[in-house]
């Protein structure tokens, strides 16, 4: 049983799973939020795609003998030609757009000569396998090599010097074009000496369109994600209901290590200060902001921000160095870990409210039922008992900005991993 709006994605997935003739029956979208009586109307009604009674189709799907077509062996042709040809540069650019290979901004066409020039940015073989990506955990993963990453880096307008960072992003396994209906974007934080060597921005406007490396590395991550995972096409391999403007360059920036009062992010995740790394986050949707930390009520203000997040998506605090120093001086947080501890302790909800969130029902409640901690412990507490909104290890702090003021943001997102850049030179 599926809802009708997902028919194309459903048939694609069934085909890729080797079941091109799997029998489906469709009901109207949405199921979520409907009453039992309304859903009974769906069952008593007609399949919106065929116009036939839903339950008649269900019974037939389970009892009609297999047809010759359904019994026949299927050939799954998946060839992807190495080259793409057209009569002119304009026609070729148009072909890339029509194939959904771009982000609908102008691209640099990846000619063999340009890709060769891009490959000068790494010592790795063009044919070396880098990794695999998929739009979501329920879809198939496609594989790719160094050359394929370089092709997409060219399209994004990146320079060869950026390629090791882009390869590290590609190797992270984190797509920047997730297909979730929730319209999430991704985020990349670069640390270490590579920030200097390729001229990234961690100061004024670091998260905006004001730096070539930030802009094109982030764009390359997006383009390589959509193309190397087998697409990011609305209704097929992308199902985000509203879409997300953050996805244009996937919130790609460098941390302001020089002005931060704390250890750099990558050092807190197992690397040395002299190493370069990129840390990837997914599920970026919610952003709340505030100015500074007021002496009398900063704790309540921060708690208000925390409660504004969905408990399924933990906070990453993205703060200007001015605010980071305020957290040290006013809050007494000598380390980011101390601040993360405080955030975890003060981000709470009554258990009854917590368990009733739709995303908690979808993603956390089944895990709690399976005995996974810490959630299993919270299943049986009284509904008014305060429970943590997040797991402690999912809360993070990053410092960026040019100190024109002490604004800071709370981004709801999921930390993935920190990937070393140096091995990709």
């Amino acid at each position: 049983m599926q809802t009708d709006i997902f028919q194309t994605a459903v048939l694609q997935t069934a085909w890729a799973e080797g079941m091109p003739h799997e029998r489906f029956v469709y009901v109207p979208q949405p199921v979520m939020g409907q009453t039992a009586a309304r859903l009974r109307q769906y069952i008593d009604g007609n399949d919106p795609l065929t116009g036939r009674p839903v339950m008649q189709e269900v019974i037939e799907a389970l009892t009609l003998p297999l047809s010759e077509t359904e019994r026949a062996a299927v050939r799954f042709d998946r060839s992807t030609p190495r080259y793409v040809d057209a009569e002119s540069e304009e026609a070729l650019a148009r072909l890339f757009m029509d194939n959904h290979w771009t982000d609908y901004l102008p691209i640099v066409l990846p000619t063999e000569e340009r890709v060769q020039a891009m490959l000068a940015g790494t010592s790795h073989s063009p044919q070396e396998i880098v990794g695999r990506l998929r739009p979501t955990s329920t879809r198939e993963a496609w594989q790719f090599d160094v050359e394929k990453v370089a092709i997409n880096a060219v399209m994004a307008g990146a320079r060869p010097a950026y390629l090791p960072v882009i390869l590290a992003l590609a190797a992270s396994g984190q797509t920047a074009r997730g297909s979730t209906t929730s319209s999430a974007a991704s985020m990349a934080v670069v640390n270490g000496p590579v920030r200097h060597s390729i001229g990234m921005n961690w100061g004024i406007g670091a998260l905006g369109p004001y730096n070539h490396a930030n802009a094109t590395i982030g764009r390359a991550w997006g383009l390589l994600s959509q193309n190397l995972q087998g697409g990011s096409v609305p209704g097929q391999t992308y199902l985000g209901s509203m879409g997300n403007n953050y996805a244009y360059n996937s919130l790609t920036f460098a941390e302001n290590e020089e002005a931060s009062p704390w250890e750099p992010f990558h050092v807190r995740h197992g690397l040395e200060p002299y190493q370069s790394a990129v840390s990837v986050f997914g599920g970026c949707r919610a952003t709340a902001y505030i100015l500074g930390l007021r002496e009398a009520h900063w704790r309540e203000h921060v708690q208000n921000l925390l409660r504004g997040l969905n408990p399924h998506t933990p906070p990453a605090l993205i703060m200007d160095p001015i605010t980071a120093r305020l957290f040290v001086e006013r809050g007494g947080f000598a380390t980011p870990a101390a601040l993360e501890d405080w955030l975890w302790e003060h981000a709470t909800l009554p258990a009854g409210v917590y368990w009733d969130y739709q995303l908690i029902q979808n993603y956390v409640y089944p895990r709690a039922q399976n005995g996974e901690q810490p959630w299993a412990t919270w299943l049986d507490v009284p509904p008014e008992t305060l429970v943590p909104m997040f797991r402690r290890e999912d809360i993070h702090v990053i410092v960026v900005g040019g100190e024109t003021n002490g604004y800071w943001r709370m981004m709801g997102c999921n930390y993935g991993r920190t990937v070393p850049v140096d091995p990709w030179y």
Binding site: M1, T63, W101
Partner: protein, 95 residues
């Protein structure tokens, strides 16, 4: 003059066909599992389907069952039970 570029798409995995199961000619007297895939209120939907069977096809032993784990995860224990004890299954509601 032809202009040539390199294809930016990755390499898809091979697909292996999974053959469909033979169907029973009737479900009368047989058990059909109605599997709640655990996505967005699918439990309410599948319970309504169970009620439909009770009211309209009492000759079919239609049973609601919730899959363990989140909707993206398989439930091998349940799938084995369906294979051993059931004639068919309806899985829903997903996307």
């Amino acid at each position: 003059m032809t202009v040539r570029a390199l294809n930016p798409m990755g390499y898809p995995p091979e697909v292996t066909q999974v053959h469909m199961a033979e169907r029973f000619d009737t479900l009368s007297g047989r058990r059909v599992y109605l599997v709640d895939a655990r996505f967005d209120d699918s439990d309410i939907f599948m319970r309504q389907m169970e009620a439909w069977f009770r009211e309209n096809r009492p000759d079919i032993d239609a049973r609601y069952v919730a899959k363990r784990g989140i909707y993206t995860q398989p439930d091998p224990e349940l799938f084995a039970r369906i294979r051993d004890e059931g004639a068919a299954a309806v899985v829903g509601v997903g996307h």
